[in-house]
Structures are given as structure tokens and as C-alpha cells.
């Protein structure tokens, strides 16, 4: 708490040196600056055994989720303490290896809606990222209109039998567990939906990876064929799934817009430096192509506006307690800007920015091409831009349909 921080500067400084000692003992210098590993499907573990060890160390300490309750595997730190942890990590180039949908979407939702038993069972492995989660929401016929989902969970007393198909399941092929929206009542659209946790190793679960236009296969079709799910894996009540599922989407949106790993990767190549090199500069150091220079400046300014807006909304929603509807704005603006940036980078670098594979392109250039393509998904998933605009128009502005 900010007030507590003012009252106990000594305690905070003591904490700072504790953090410094702990990081010195646990963060392997070889991992410095390798935070990009977090964008790999294998997360920190793709940085080798040291990455795994670092994940387990930070996660075990609860510091991957510093402000989450200690009882569930979090760090139990105040915001002031967490800020010190962040500062100290940034200072030495350490990065948070705890990521994935467990942290970004499911954890916060379970903290809010899960039973005590469920939190004790699932949260610790989320905090250490030992268990990977995937999101079973979309179906072939239920995308933007998520509530039309058909995957059915039949009540069998102490368990459900689940049948149906999910699609676009990101990381489905690597996930241990799935948080899914299923239908328990066919007579009601929204109120017939229930939030279930499904062990991906259950008999009857199968996945089929889908190749994306970037050449990678980060998502799957997921099939449920008579999958038995114990009732203890239901979060909330039957029919409460839509409320819980929507809350989770708010967390998802905030994360998509708020500078997740993907964005950091997209930003790795500095726009201005690249432009100076590709286009040259005049005697005053101005980028030689005046039109591109103006557009780069426009991007940089828009980006700054976006970051400031993110800060403002975060502060406001914290003060108000809870995620705000305005997160819709952040998602549409943030995703659009990142896409603009990828496009601008191609325009600046020309054909060199369109390398697909093979000789003549740096790894960073090839990654940028793939990122440009995979980045097109950010305005589609997590509620597309069009759907966000509908939400803004209807819920914030009160512009209702005619009927």
C-alpha cells in the first residue's frame, strides 16, 4: 500500500536488500535479457535447464505473482513491495518466467470465483507455471457469438459427460488443463452456460494442431468425446459460466493490449533506428524520407498516447476496484497500433522486411515477418475489434439495437 510505504521506508529498504540477495543467488546471469523466451510456447523452459530452474525458483518463492495471496502460492506482497521487486529485477536484466494463460487469464478469475478447494488445488501450480492452461471457448459455429456454443455437458450425478468441439485453442497441444465454457442447459442461451475445468489427459480429449498463416501452429481444434469431468471441477454454479467467462475475457483483453510478450517481441526492432539505417538521414539527422518520417512520428506519438491511456485507466480501475469496461478501448487501440507498427516496419525496410526463410535475412528480420502475420490475430481474438466497438457502443454509450 502506498500509505504503508510512506510509513515504513526502513522496512522497504530492508526488503530491497533481501530481494537483491535473493536475485543474486537465484537469477543466472546467462539468462539476462533472454526474456523473449516467454513468447515461445514452452515459456521460460525454452531457455534450457537454467530457464526451468529460474522459473521454479521465482515461482516457488511466489514472486512470479508477487501480489497474489501467499496461501495460494503467490508472493503476498504489498504493491510497494512488488514495485521494489520489479525495480530490482529490471535493474539486473532479470525477467519474470511465470506466464501463460494460467497467469494472464485463469488465475485472476479463479481467485475471484473459485471455491477454496479449487484455489488450493490449482493456484500453486499456476504460480509456478508447472501446469499449463488453455482456453476452450470458441467453437466452429461460436466465435464472436460465443454464447451460441454447443459443447454439451450432461449431468450424470457426481460428474458431467462432455461432448463437442472447440477450435482455435491456443496451446491446446501443450496444455495440461483447459478452462472451458460448456452448455448445461439447451433451453437458455447465456444462462445455460457453465464454466468447467477439464484435465486434458482425460480419456476422450483429443487435439489437432492448425497451421497459422505465419507458418507456426500455435493453436488446435479440440475434441471432447464422452469426456468425464467430476463436478468438483465446475467453477461457480451451473449457468454462471457466462458471467465468469466474460470476466476472464476482460483480463484477456487487458493483457492483449497491455504489453504482453508478443508485443515486446514486435517492438524489439527499434523503428527509428531501423528507419535511419534503411532510409538514411540528412545533415540535421532527420530521416531522409519526409513522409515516412512524419508517419513514424505519428506512430510514436500515438503509441505514447496509448501508454498514457493505459496508465490512466489502470489507475482509475484500481481506484474503483476491478477491471473496467473501458478495457475494450485499450484492446482496440493497442492491437491496431502494434499492427500499424509492423506494417510501417515493412514499408521502411522494403522487401528486406518480407523475408520468409533462408539466406539473406537476420533472425530478427524473419521473426518480424512472422510476427507481422501472426499479429493480425490480435484484432480477431479475445473479442474482435468489431465486437469491442459493439460493446463500447451498446454498454458504454447506451446505443441500443432498435428492437
Amino acid at each position: 500500500m502506498a500509505t504503508a510505504a510512506k510509513e515504513q521506508p526502513d522496512a522497504l529498504e530492508a526488503f530491497r536488500s533481501e530481494v537483491q540477495d535473493w536475485l543474486a543467488a537465484n537469477f543466472p546471469a546467462s539468462l539476462k535479457g533472454k526474456g523473449g523466451a516467454m513468447t515461445s510456447p514452452y515459456g521460460a523452459d525454452s531457455a534450457g535447464p537454467e530457464g526451468t530452474a529460474w522459473r521454479k525458483a521465482l515461482g516457488g518463492k511466489g514472486w512470479g505473482t508477487p501480489t497474489w495471496p501467499k496461501a495460494y502460492g503467490g508472493g503476498g506482497l504489498s504493491k510497494a513491495h512488488a514495485a521494489i521487486l520489479n525495480q530490482e529485477m529490471a535493474r539486473i536484466g532479470a525477467w519474470n518466467p511465470i506466464g501463460g494463460m494460467g497467469i494472464l487469464m485463469f488465475g485472476p478469475t479463479l481467485l475471484e470465483y473459485g471455491s477454496e478447494e479449487q484455489k488450493l488445488r490449482h493456484m500453486p501450480a499456476i504460480c509456478t507455471a508447472d501446469i499449463r492452461w488453455c482456453q476452450g471457448y470458441s467453437e466452429p459455429g461460436a466465435g464472436s457469438d460465443l454464447a451460441s456454443l454447443q459443447t454439451f455437458a450432461e449431468d450424470k450425478g457426481d460428474h458431467y459427460i462432455v461432448n463437442g468441439q472447440k477450435t482455435w485453442t491456443s496451446g491446446g497441444q501443450w496444455a495440461d488443463w483447459c478452462f472451458a465454457l460448456v452448455r448445461t442447459d439447451k433451453s437458455k442461451k447465456h444462462e445455460g452456460i457453465t464454466f468447467l475445468l477439464i484435465d486434458m489427459k482425460s480419456p476422450g480429449v483429443s487435439v489437432k494442431p492448425i497451421q497459422m498463416i505465419s507458418g507456426m501452429s500455435p493453436f488446435c481444434e479440440t475434441f471432447f468425446d464422452n469426456v468425464k469431468v467430476p463436478k468438483e471441477n465446475r467453477v461457480g454454479e451451473e449457468g454462471q459460466g457466462w458471467t465468469i467467462g466474460k470476466r476472464l475475457l476482460q483480463h484477456e483483453r487487458t493483457n492483449i493490449s497491455g504489453g504482453g510478450g508478443r508485443m515486446a517481441a514486435a517492438m524489439a526492432q527499434g523503428l527509428v533506428a531501423t528507419a535511419k539505417e534503411a532510409l538514411g538521414t540528412d545533415a540535421q539527422g532527420r530521416i531522409a524520407d519526409p513522409e515516412l518520417r512524419a508517419r513514424i512520428a505519428k506512430f510514436e506519438m500515438d503509441w505514447r498516447t496509448f501508454l498514457l491511456t493505459t496508465q490512466r485507466i489502470t489507475q482509475e480501475s484500481k481506484a474503483a476496484g476491478g477491471v473496467s469496461e473501458v478495457s475494450s478501448i485499450l484492446k482496440t487501440v493497442g492491437t491496431k497500433l502494434v499492427q500499424e507498427r509492423s506494417e510501417l516496419l515493412i514499408e521502411i525496410t522494403g522487401l528486406q522486411g518480407l523475408g520468409w526463410e533462408g539466406e539473406g535475412f537476420s533472425d530478427a528480420e524473419l521473426a518480424a515477418t512472422r510476427g507481422w502475420l501472426s499479429g493480425k490475430a490480435t484484432t480477431i481474438y479475445g473479442g474482435s475489434t468489431e465486437i469491442q466497438n459493439n460493446v463500447i457502443a451498446k454498454r458504454i454509450l447506451g446505443m441500443l439495437d432498435h428492437q
Binding site: 466465435g143 497451421q211 498463416i213 522487401l351
Partner: protein
Amino acid sequence: MAVLSEEQTMLRDMAREWTTNESPVTAFRKFRDLAPACGYDANAFKTMAEMGWAGIVIPEKFGGSDFGWLSLGLVLEETAKTLTASPLASSALAASALVLGSSDAAKATWLPRLASGEVVGTLAIDEGPRHNPAAIATTATKSGDGWTLSGTKAFVHEAHGAALFIVAAQTPDGVGVFAVPADLAGLGLATRKLTDSRSHANVTLANVKVGADAYLGGSDLLDRLLDRARIVTAAEMLGLAEHSFGVTLDYLKQRVQFGQILATFQALQHRMAELFTRIELMRTDVEAALAALDSSTDVPAMASLAKATANDTLHLVSREVIQLHGGIGMTDEYFIAFYIKRARVLENAWGSSTFHRDRYASLAGY
């Protein structure tokens, strides 16, 4: 739609029918997955040549039909719709260098073979990843009767299948344009794989020796050639924009969400109406530029106008068509993203929009 002659209408209809039946998008996917060494769909090009398309801008006395640039543009627009991986445009541009050039020997040697499709030619002008004809550093020095060429050309389209390169190089008297056979000693290729899965390579010329009759002309020829490249590219881009738009329109009329087809949402109707409008404007510029070539009026400004409009329009269209498809548009199994992958390559070839806006202003004296 420009007012077409009867022959042009027939040609366009024939091209439309052929691409629809014989060269659909599935043929492009097959080409992409097979990745043949020549860099293009050889069977498709063979048929295209048999239909006379390779000779559309070549005079009759050299075996062509001399149908003109608007006719060529109509064919390219149609074949682009289904992404046909043919060197038709590159080869026609190489041929036009010979037609416009001063070397009778080069005409006699190459034009009949280009017209029949027996060989493929291509332009090797730019030396970097961005179009910049003012920065040509490849040199041509006199040696005996002929010339010695040295330098590197970047991202030469259809380089793998080309028997003839049209090369721009600095001579002691300014820039010159040369016809360079691909099999000469000292000429080497380095493949550059781009998003469009088509043939691109850097072409290195290490003391490549050509005869005196390889010289085709100077900077004036280069300018005329580049304008043709810009306009022909814009014609291909028109086909990409139109077809990806049409496919998306069909999809929106069939995909149901919220209990209604997507096409009934006004938010999407307006987006599609905007794209339609932009594509109509693009069509105007592209056809006007093609016609300008045929009548030799105001070609430089029309080339910049057409290429800039094509760049901006296709840029927008190629993004929107993915977005409007939703998740399915992000899958490789579906084909809509093939268009953006080709679009960006063409946008960056022969001048970006900033290049052409700057040039348009310069041409007009401001």
C-alpha cells in the same frame, strides 16, 4: 470498367475462364508446396503462351500480337485473381525493353522466343530492398567492342527461370540498359525467399562480358521501362484486390453469428462499401495508366498515380479481408492470407506510395 474493344473483351473473358477453370487458387497452393526450381508454374505458363499471352506487347513481325498494354493488363488482372505463379509480367517487361530499345540484333535474338514463351525474361534494375533507380551502382565499362558489367541486383523477380536479364548499369555517359543472357560466365543467383513464395533472387554480375549490341538505351529507356513495370504491377494488384474482396463478400453472406448472416451487420456493410469504393477508384487509375501507355500520353504521372493508388488500396483491402474472415482467415489451410503475402511484395516493388507521391509532385514541378 474501361471501354474495351471486341478483341479485348474476348481476351479478358478467355483469361477469366482459363484462370477459373485451369489455374484456381489451389494450383497456386500446389506450386507453393512443390516449390519448383524454375520458380514459376511451368505448365500454366506454357498454356498461357500457347494462348498468345506472352506476345501481347510484342510486335507482330517478331511473333507477338501487339495487342497493347491495356490488353496485357486485363490478362494480368485475371491471372492475379487466383495468384497464378507465372512470369508473364516480368517477361513482357523484358520484351518491352527490347522493343523500345535500339538494338536490332537483340530484338531479333530474343523477341520471337519471348513471344512464344520459349524463354522467360525479367528486369534486374534495383539494387536494394526499396525501389531506388537513382542509386544504381552496377557498372558497365567498355571493353573492346562490348561491355563488362559488375554489380549486384537485389530481389530480382522470376530470376530463377529467366534466360534474359534486362540490367541497368552506370556507363561513363550515365545509366545504360543492357540485355544480359543468364548463361554468361560471372552471373550468379542467390535465392531470397519472400512471403509470396514466388521467385526472387539477388543477381550478381562479376565481370560479365556482353557484346556491343547488348546495349539497349540510356536513362530515357530506363524511365519508360520502369513506368511500364509500375503500371503492369498495379494491374496485377487490381486483380488481387478485387478477388480477395469478392471472396470476402461471399463469406460474409454465408457466415452466421448471432443468428444472422454477417452481411446483415451494418458495421460490416459500411466497411465493405468503403472497400468497394476504393477498389473502383483503383480500377480507374490502373486502366487509365494502361491506356496511357497505349496512347503514349502523360505516362510518368499516370504510372505514379496508378502505383500509389494500387499500393494504398491493396494495402487496406489485404488487411481487411483477413480481419473480416475472423479466425479462419488466420489459418494456412484457408487461402485469404495468400493475398496479403503477395500484396506486400508488389507494394514494395517499383516504388512505395511515398516514392510515387514524391515523384508525382516532382513531375508536376512542386
